[in-house]
């Protein structure tokens, strides 16, 4: 099979071939490394590529599989990690100048779980500095280019993860999501991104942005692949006391469940207010597709969700400031301008305002919980706009002009506040050829229903086989 055909394989497809020894993990890894060498100087998805280490790991995997020691569907699969996931012996920059040369002496739990499952680490991925921004603009390592249009942002903060998966520079990747940073680049790059329930996946060894809002999640080309990654990542971790002991189901088996009879809520409040017309049409068409599969769609009110914005602001600003205070005191000049200014703002949020936000959070979460007793999932746009141009600071939708960053996070950050799981699935392209994302929000710890819905939708979606127009 030609190398570029190998990188088109999904994780599930490649894993099946690897298991049957019909594909060599060395051959697969070489195909990805070759594509990274050809395309990444332009796309800038990677901060650190590990060709020697990846090939050595692939050789070891090949020998293991030959001996009959097959570990499971990630064994021999080339993946990459957002560069805030600690990797023993490999620098972890967090997209910053401050940590440019920092080499951790231990792996994050999620990195270790992927390695234990036999995944092969291709490298560490570009990101918005310290994960504090939804654009992926990075003054230290260059700004990732959206593979659908190089003049547009990839979305952030897991920008490199979105680009690497969309451009077939990795079979799958990990991102983190504090206000949408898995789902936004997934939507803008035309891939699948899953923010699990808060407490479902360990954050131990992942450099924080805001402890109570941070989530780690998979970014893949198919919903099936997201399920395979989540299966390995999910579960209680003694190193992260916020992880839960709620049992981890068989996510792949859950994909096969029925969609018929599932109830979907369209929350008109916030999520469908001021949405780009092409995004609105695509998301409404997705709702009709799910209706065609037997789901029942109804409108659902969420009037308190409007308060999520300021509550999220107070929490993220305060927690980020608390983490960064030592660096701001000693090394402020090493931050990029946008991140330093945002961090500076955090010192002016008062303690009682932070606590008010954490109290409001309970009320907003309760409202979403109540809605999810009426329906099985909520259906919204992931972002109300497609990928902005690199030079666009403000966007106007339905006559309202706002900062591009606020448009990008509007539909995603409320779900970080509530902690519910949320899945972004591609649902179409604009006339200009830019991907559009559909967001599904589920009950706490019910990722299985989201994956089932996403998988069923992807099977009938017009966006299921779309690939970015890369010249190679």
């Amino acid at each position: 099979m030609p190398p570029d055909n190998l990188t088109r394989l999904s994780i599930a497809e490649a894993g099946d071939l690897l298991r049957r020894r019909a594909l060599s993990p060395v051959e697969l890894t070489r195909a990805y490394l070759d594509r990274i060498r050809r395309l990444d100087p332009d796309l800038l998805a990677y901060i650190t590529v590990l060709p020697d280490e990846a090939l050595a790991a692939a050789t070891a995997v090949e020998q293991e599989i030959a001996r009959g020691q097959y570990r499971g569907p990630l064994h021999g699969i080339p993946i990459a990690l957002k560069d805030l996931v600690m990797t023993r012996g490999v620098r972890t920059t967090c997209g910053s100048r401050i940590l440019r040369d920092w080499v951790p002496d231990a792996d994050a739990t999620v990195a270790r779980r992927l390695a234990d499952a036999g995944a092969i680490l291709l490298g560490k991925l570009n990101m918005h500095e310290f994960a504090y921004g939804p654009t992926g603009v990075n003054p230290h390592y260059g700004t990732c280019r959206n593979p659908w249009d190089r003049h547009r942002i990839a979305g952030g903060s897991s920008s490199g993860s979105g680009v690497a998966v969309a451009a077939e520079l990795a079979a799958g990747a990990l991102g983190t999501d504090t206000g949408g940073s898995v789902r936004i680049p997934a939507a803008l790059c035309g891939i699948v991104g899953l923010k699990p329930t808060y407490g479902r996946v360990s954050r131990a060894g992942v450099i924080p942005l805001a402890w109570s809002l941070d989530h780690v999640g998979p970014m893949t080309r198919t919903v099936t692949d997201a399920a395979l990654l989540l299966q390995v990542l999910a579960g209680r971790d003694p190193a992260d006391p916020t992880t839960s002991a709620v049992p981890v189901p068989d996510y792949r088996r859950a994909l096969q469940g029925e969609v018929r009879g599932l109830r979907l809520g369209l929350p008109k409040d916030l999520f469908f207010e001021r949405v780009d017309p092409e995004v609105r049409i695509a998301v409404q068409a997705a709702a009709r597709s799910l209706e065609g599969l037997g789901a029942v769609v109804e409108e659902i009110p969420l009037p308190k969700i409007h308060h999520a914005g300021p509550a999220s602001f107070a929490i993220i600003a305060s927690e980020a400031m608390a983490y960064h205070e030592p660096y701001l005191r000693a090394r402020a000049e090493e931050y990029g301008e946008d991140v330093r200014a945002r961090l500076t703002t955090g010192q002016f949020v008062l303690a009682h305002q932070y606590l008010k936000a954490q109290r409001a959070r309970q009320v907003i979460r309760a409202e979403v919980d109540a809605a999810l007793t009426r329906v099985d999932a909520l259906l919204t746009p992931t972002t109300p706009v497609p990928a902005p141009r690199l030079d666009e600071r403000e966007l106007t939708v339905e006559g309202v002009t706002e900062d591009a960053r606020w448009w990008l996070i509007r539909c995603t950050r409320p779900i970080n506040l509530t902690g519910h799981p949320a899945l972004s699935v591609p649902c179409g392209l604009t006339a200009a050829g830019l991907p559009i994302g559909l967001q599904l929000v589920g009950r706490l710890f019910d990722e299985a229903t989201l994956l089932r819905l996403g998988h069923a939708f992807q099977a009938v979606s017009p966006a299921r086989d779309l690939r970015p127009p890369l010249n190679s």
Partner: protein
């Protein structure tokens, strides 16, 4: 909309937090803070008197931790 002066932020950062800040960053902070302070004030509409804050260690009332 609430207006926040750069001079006030300068005084706070110098006299309370002690974290050095550049005038340009303070100007951006002042711009960002105004609408957010309004939004934070409106959280009172949620009638929070009997509500305790969410804590980091309890992700969900339905998420019991392992023994």
């Amino acid at each position: 909309m609430t207006s926040v002066s750069i001079q006030l932020l300068q005084a706070l950062t110098q006299e309370l937090s002690g974290i050095p800040a550049r005038p340009g960053d303070l100007a951006i902070a002042a711009t960002q803070l105004g609408p957010q302070l309004d939004g934070l004030a409106r959280l009172d509409d949620l009638e929070l008197l009997a509500v305790e804050p969410a804590t980091i260690l309890v992700p969900s009332s339905r998420a019991p931790h392992a023994a």
